[in-house]
């Protein structure tokens, strides 16, 4: 297909040039540095974009205008917020365990960075094509809960502790149904690698060719992803009407900003994974044998497809947040253990049967 300059082309050009100029070790180091800088840059951009997006979505849902002072239509509002958070004093409470208190936001952000590695952002553009990509993501994301527990305990604040306990119970529980709904796709593709999962959807996204079981898995995945990222209606760890701000009550300034950033980046990551597994990653949208239509779709760069799908899911999660009230802790666990888990287990059986019998397209 007639690709213009794509991300993979650019990365190849850089790679070739580096290989021609330096020896392999230096090439590797420079490429690692470039990747690191790109991830940090992506973090910054994601933080800025997602915060302004959240504020605009909430404003429009709530018949408000939203931020409209800084820059055109308030688009630079989140930059002003960032500057404010940067220059703010980072307080550490007197009774806090200072080492762990300061370590917790770092762990949150490092985990979010690690999760970026296996995501396929565009055609042939992936930092680390690890062959157990899905497993890697669910493994590393389980470390996230540690940072919340650490922050909650080290703050020496009862609200924080309650928030951390809630969050721990919540994340540990919802990992199960998130994992099971991911396994549904893994069964259909027979691979854990993101690259292969995307390539298995070349003739149609799983959500279309997987019938109702995959649709159910998708719904469960979105619910579990919302819960795992601690967002409303599952924001019990923060629950501002009950626990002030939950586990990050005592955090301020840049330390708070790191938690905040990690939350948004995690939202991005779970949505990216959802887009990869169910919506075909960077695969363009094709309809059967409509050649003209498919060619037009192919002409859109793959990175745009990926970002479009991811941001659609992010919007969906934001839409949830501004529509639903929060659950209570026992209802939250009921929902997981009495509804999502049995349904996803039954669904997994259906998917397995479907995969064995080859009922999908």
């Amino acid at each position: 297909m007639g690709q213009m300059i794509s991300l993979s082309e650019i990365s190849k050009i850089i790679d070739n040039w580096l290989r021609a100029t330096f020896n392999p070790t230096w090439t590797l180091i420079i490429e690692m540095v470039i990747a690191g800088v790109c991830v940090i840059g992506l973090f910054a951009v994601l933080g800025l974009v997602l915060v302004i997006m959240e504020r605009k979505v909430s404003a429009w849902i709530q018949i408000r205008l939203g931020p409209n002072r800084v820059g055109p239509k308030g688009m630079f509002q989140s930059m002003a917020d960032t500057v404010k958070l940067l220059v703010k004093e980072g307080l550490t409470p007197d009774g806090a365990d200072k080492f762990l208190f300061n370590l917790a936001p770092l762990i949150a952000i490092v985990v979010a960075m690690l999760l970026m590695a296996p995501i396929a952002f565009a055609r042939d553009f992936q930092m680390w094509d690890i062959n157990i990509g899905v497993l890697y993501v669910s493994a590393v994301s389980s470390v996230m809960v540690i940072s919340i527990l650490m922050a909650g305990w080290a703050s020496n604040n009862k609200y924080s502790l309650l928030g951390a306990m809630r969050s721990g119970a919540q994340i540990v529980s919802y990992e199960l149904s998130a994992g099971l709904s991911i396994i549904a796709i893994v069964i259909l593709t027979g691979s854990l690698s993101f690259n292969e999962i995307v390539h298995s959807q070349v003739d149609g996204w799983w959500i279309f060719k997987g019938h109702i079981p995959v649709l159910i898995a998708f719904v469960i995945f979105i619910i579990a992803a919302t819960a795992e990222t601690n967002r409303a209606p599952f924001d019990l760890a923060e629950a501002e009407s009950e626990l002030t701000a939950g586990f990050h009550t005592e955090y301020s300034g840049m330390k708070f900003a790191l938690f905040f950033l990690a939350e948004y980046v995690n939202v991005f990551i779970v949505c990216a994974i959802g887009a990869t597994l169910f919506l075909g990653g960077w695969m363009p949208f094709h309809i059967g044998s409509w050649q003209g239509f498919n060619q037009v779709m192919d002409y859109i760069p793959s990175s745009i497809w990926f970002m479009g799908k991811t941001f659609f899911l992010i919007f969906l999660i934001m839409w949830f947040r501004w529509t639903f009230p929060r659950l209570r802790i026992d209802q939250l666990l009921n929902l997981e253990w009495k509804y999502l888990l049995p349904i996803s287990m039954f669904n997994l059986l259906l998917v397995t049967a479907m995969a064995i019998l080859g009922w999908h397209f």
């Binding site: 849902i61 018949i63 408000r64 205008l65 839409w319 501004w322 639903f324």
Partner: protein
């Protein structure tokens, strides 16, 4: 969430439980979708937005004429007001907001006549209860439609309502 039998309950109730379970799931999903449709409607219909951009709309913004912003004393073009200095407002005020300082003018007939020297108004004490306006027998004071009262020093909130050199209007007793 459901009030049906527990999952491990009697086998006979198992089928009914399953029906109830599925019903609960569907009604939950339906209620969620109904709510999301409503919020989605507002997300896409920006004409419903009701907020005003306050400091920008100062020119077009109109407060109703009865709005109680602060007490003012209207003067006509000859710098005359209608206040006789009867202290009815001072008495009516629950907070001691108004202080009437009187003096004695000499009328052209050579008689002494009571008049106001200063009508001191403490905006910082005022609760905008409108009692002074109602109490005034000569309609000398009224409520103004201002509301941006913030100043850096509270002494600026103590105001003298009558203009310097103003006189009482003819015919007001």
């Amino acid at each position: 969430m459901s009030k049906g039998l527990p999952l491990w309950g009697r086998f006979g109730g198992g089928f009914m439980f399953l029906i109830n379970y599925i019903k609960t799931v569907f009604s939950t999903v339906k209620s969620m979708l109904v709510g999301m449709r409503r919020t989605g409607y507002y997300f896409t219909h920006h004409k419903e937005i009701i907020t005003e951009e306050y400091p920008d709309n100062r020119e077009t913004m109109h407060l109703p004429e009865r709005f109680k912003g602060e007490v003012v004393m209207p003067h006509d073009e000859k710098n005359e007001h209608r206040c006789t200095g009867c202290t009815a407002c001072e008495l009516a005020c629950p907070n001691g907001t108004i202080k009437v300082v009187t003096k004695f003018d000499i009328t052209p007939e050579g008689k002494k006549k009571k008049a106001i020297d200063k009508l001191v108004y403490h905006l910082e004490l005022c609760t905008m209860c409108n009692l002074c306006i109602v109490a005034c027998p000569s309609d000398a004071i009224k409520m103004a439609q201002t509301f941006e009262h913030s100043v850096f020093d509270r002494s600026q909130l103590t105001k003298v309502l009558n203009n310097p050199g103003s006189k009482i209007m003819d015919g007001v007793e």
